[in-house]
Symmetry: D3
Amino acid sequence: MRIRVIVPITSFSEDYLEDRRKRLSKEALPMTELEFVSVKKGPITIESFYEEELAAIDLLENVKKAEEDGVDAVIIWCSGDPAVHAARELVKIPVVGPGEASFILAALLAHKFTVISPLERDIVRYENMAKILGIESKLASVRPLGITVLGLRSNREKAVERIILLSEKAIKEDGAHAIVLGCLGMFGMAKEVQEKIGIPVIDPGIAALKIAELLVQTGLSFSKLTYPYPPKKES
Amino acid sequence: MRIRVIVPITSFSEDYLEDRRKRLSKEALPMTELEFVSVKKGPITIESFYEEELAAIDLLENVKKAEEDGVDAVIIWCSGDPAVHAARELVKIPVVGPGEASFILAALLAHKFTVISPLERDIVRYENMAKILGIESKLASVRPLGITVLGLRSNREKAVERIILLSEKAIKEDGAHAIVLGCLGMFGMAKEVQEKIGIPVIDPGIAALKIAELLVQTGLSFSKLTYPYPPKKES
Amino acid sequence: MRIRVIVPITSFSEDYLEDRRKRLSKEALPMTELEFVSVKKGPITIESFYEEELAAIDLLENVKKAEEDGVDAVIIWCSGDPAVHAARELVKIPVVGPGEASFILAALLAHKFTVISPLERDIVRYENMAKILGIESKLASVRPLGITVLGLRSNREKAVERIILLSEKAIKEDGAHAIVLGCLGMFGMAKEVQEKIGIPVIDPGIAALKIAELLVQTGLSFSKLTYPYPPKKES
Amino acid sequence: MRIRVIVPITSFSEDYLEDRRKRLSKEALPMTELEFVSVKKGPITIESFYEEELAAIDLLENVKKAEEDGVDAVIIWCSGDPAVHAARELVKIPVVGPGEASFILAALLAHKFTVISPLERDIVRYENMAKILGIESKLASVRPLGITVLGLRSNREKAVERIILLSEKAIKEDGAHAIVLGCLGMFGMAKEVQEKIGIPVIDPGIAALKIAELLVQTGLSFSKLTYPYPPKKES
Amino acid sequence: MRIRVIVPITSFSEDYLEDRRKRLSKEALPMTELEFVSVKKGPITIESFYEEELAAIDLLENVKKAEEDGVDAVIIWCSGDPAVHAARELVKIPVVGPGEASFILAALLAHKFTVISPLERDIVRYENMAKILGIESKLASVRPLGITVLGLRSNREKAVERIILLSEKAIKEDGAHAIVLGCLGMFGMAKEVQEKIGIPVIDPGIAALKIAELLVQTGLSFSKLTYPYPPKKES
Amino acid sequence: MRIRVIVPITSFSEDYLEDRRKRLSKEALPMTELEFVSVKKGPITIESFYEEELAAIDLLENVKKAEEDGVDAVIIWCSGDPAVHAARELVKIPVVGPGEASFILAALLAHKFTVISPLERDIVRYENMAKILGIESKLASVRPLGITVLGLRSNREKAVERIILLSEKAIKEDGAHAIVLGCLGMFGMAKEVQEKIGIPVIDPGIAALKIAELLVQTGLSFSKLTYPYPPKKES
């Protein structure tokens, strides 16, 4: 199966894209063919509702093109799931958001979970995401690292250390029984954290990949009653 | 005070814009100066999440420009409140969404309320809006007219008739005690419907105007902790 | 328009009433004519459910009289909104409670808000008010000052200082993005606090006035399905 | 133990009071001494929030007097539980509301329950009561008989018949697994209905009595943190 | 009336059973005849979902036998209410779980309550119990003692001391207005704690007894629509 | 990877077990080795809470044995997820319940979903399951077929027909946007139904398999804070 990852930001060099592809491919099924593309127009990183909007148009074009190219599923490479509702309207293939994919797995695996986010402002986004998915009673807390997306890339070690620290606080003070890494800038850090803290730590990139593979295998996709095609206009 | 209404769709002619401005001005305070502008690039109408994204970029530019022009508050002329969260990040002045403005007034005035929407697909949007505002227990139902936005414009009489019919059903079958008109295509129809059905009927255009005026008068705006400015990127 | 403020307690001298009228008038629209009346029989202040009951009968008579006198809207000058549901049954004009008016504005302007109340016991009242309005997921916390209503009057400076202190705690510890002043004894303090803490601070007196003006202007009132007239008795 | 039932309406003759006392005594424990008193000033019946307020003052005096007289618990003989929060502030002995008592028993005994109320307007009251008790997810529906309180007294047979009819509808259409009779005017009808429909039917008078007896026996009463004494005023 | 207490664990000696019977009898009505029986096969104590399952089969046989023996109600002597839903399917007589009985009384008596549990792991069980009863908004917190069930028995004094300590914390930090003792190992400790902390403290054993007596007296039992008999199998 | 399916009922002949294994294997990954075992002691089918208890002991022994045998994940072949919480306490490997697995996928794919259950009594079980998972706002309804588990096996055609009929009703009357088949007796029917009704239809057997495979691949399992090992007893 072909799964295309669409990166909605412009700060991924070709090399970086290829690096991500290789790393994620290690988590993929043998029959999965992974492609990474990035938007040409869009924000450097997405850390605000505004930047989600900046990313949307090129992202949506990419989603449509993916289906035309015969791709089986699409992943939006951002935990805020930008434009994911709009994208699902445009196509029949699954469009997976890493945020939602992580949240439902965490809701399954644990009584309550905490999201580790880059910044304080992400609390609004993730609490709203939980409300829309209906699982707010499973969300123990959102704990911000105080590290920007670019900061996560440039200082991986410090980030992992701080994620471990906040996860331990979340367990102790918020009653968290699982951790969701709330940014693709934390991709690849889950296993290390999980080994340290001993509870499930969900990597948004892997969660999205695995849910995408699951959907393609089962022939399931997002409901066309929830995400119908945009209507034709009467003339 | 100056309030600028930004129309996020391209199907308003200059005349139509002016007509809307005049009609809404009748509802405005004497000290309110109303301006209507429309996006140059965007969808014909907004009836999907996708079209919200199409509207966003030009809309957001307009919001920024409004503040630069010294406008006191902005209204997004669409009940789906497209890009309203992003817009609030960009400016300090209030950016009012007619959907949210209508919902909180209805929640105040009645035990439960029903939203009359153009299409069945709007149920998802409005139930999610209620969840995010936290008032889902006050939302009796969303009742779709089965009439598109353009259809509302071209056949006003039929629309009013059908709104009355569905409102009566909502009272009887869903326990609605107030009605929210869930599309700016129904602007100006509330009073007629209210006279017929005898319970509060909230016009989204007027609700947005009055909330905007209220905010300007009181010096209140949307919280900058909920909608902080988009972050500067580290270099 | 004529708006009558009914003070449900007996500790307002004529001078104090006139002082409040003048101060609130500064916030009113030019076309608003404000009247302040106080109950003749009732409690000194309202700090318990019991004192709400003591206030009710004279208050309700005043509400009826207000409508008979041709007043356009009534405000009950107490954030606990005493007898407000009963009052709405008696008349067609809007009867605005400062508590509810503040809560819905805060729910609109911020992801979450905190109520600063006089006493610890007020937590019950305000959490129940949020439940009935349906917005409990927006209520970050209720933070009591530990100052009685009379104490608020006699030591304004200390009150403002403590409100600022608790608001900052609410932001930091409870995730509050806006503040509601939960007592009319704090009337006139919002702007000062807002300047200090930088997020929306809602004054219950001004919120009630502005919502009352909004309702009169739009011809909206509380639903007669939610608040029908008390039934005639069969004989 | 002495339990005093306070009737908050004025339409109970001395004979009727005595008749109610005798009937309720059949349900009481051998050690329970039942007293029925009625307010002297108050409404004929309570069918509105307004009439609750009319009943409150005399009712509250009676509650205080009951404690002074050495009574062990008080029951307010009205399913709307008028002034019950205020009353609990005034005394240490339990003040039981038949509405709340019925609701918690129904929440225990069944997945969901329906309240049969006299009038359509009661829906607001009972849905709000469920919200405050926190059990709205257990409330299947409120079904109004369309019979006033006086009508319940004057035509018992018709009332029972209609309660059975609505209960069967509630089972079939609303998923009710238990029934709460939502008015003391239906006192004594539960057993008859229960025999007919085969699911638990809760009589508010008996529920209140049994909860009152339970509390007295166990030395439990309402929390003084939830219902503290009204504060003394500073001078 | 005959009430049979079924102890679902095997660590009660005959003497200990008799001791419990005597102690609980002091709380019973004069007309109540109390019987204590213990399962023959089952866990030493119940501190996990697994041990609930170990207890279930013998427990359920005992419940059936109780009804055959003409017993009027059954109490499962464990606050986790093991197999209580299954048990109610098998019989018509009330099967009372001390956990549920305590929760609904606490929900009635206080704005919010805290459960004091033996171990940290009990948080999951009690938060889920509150969700199913629908009263999660009334549950302030679950506070674990860090003492096993056997530890509660062997060191009563230390347990009481620690319950008082945690209750005071729950009042101060979690907003608790009542306390539920969340283990039958704390049976008989409530009064002592209540005297110390001054808010209602609910003993699960007494709560279960009193609710059982209440149900027998009123002829109420659990709904057979919620707990229908297990179906006969088609052959 | 090795995944063992444990059938908690005794009515599967060896042939039937093998047939199920073959059918489910068609849905499995190439690297998945599927095993089907059935309890020796247990109910014929599970249609009540009581029968869940009958199934538990042998089921739990099988779960422990599976881990000892080096199996990577276990599936309980029953949509009611019997003893699944207890089972997770006993082992480290994932124990997947088809009910929970289906619910979270449906919550992801659709605004709201309906569960098609065999019998009316299943409504309680599935509404409680949704409450515990926290997704009750996503559950549009539970629609019972009125067909027993054995009936599903003996008359497949009628069952499919009726599932289609109820699914269409659920879409039209309850707002369902996806369907969950709420019994393993409907295993293998999803694709047929999905083709007919055009929205996602989730097969509980396939959902459980795919979630189990996903967990094994990612090294995730259920949180040991939510499901800790049963405690050793002090002696």
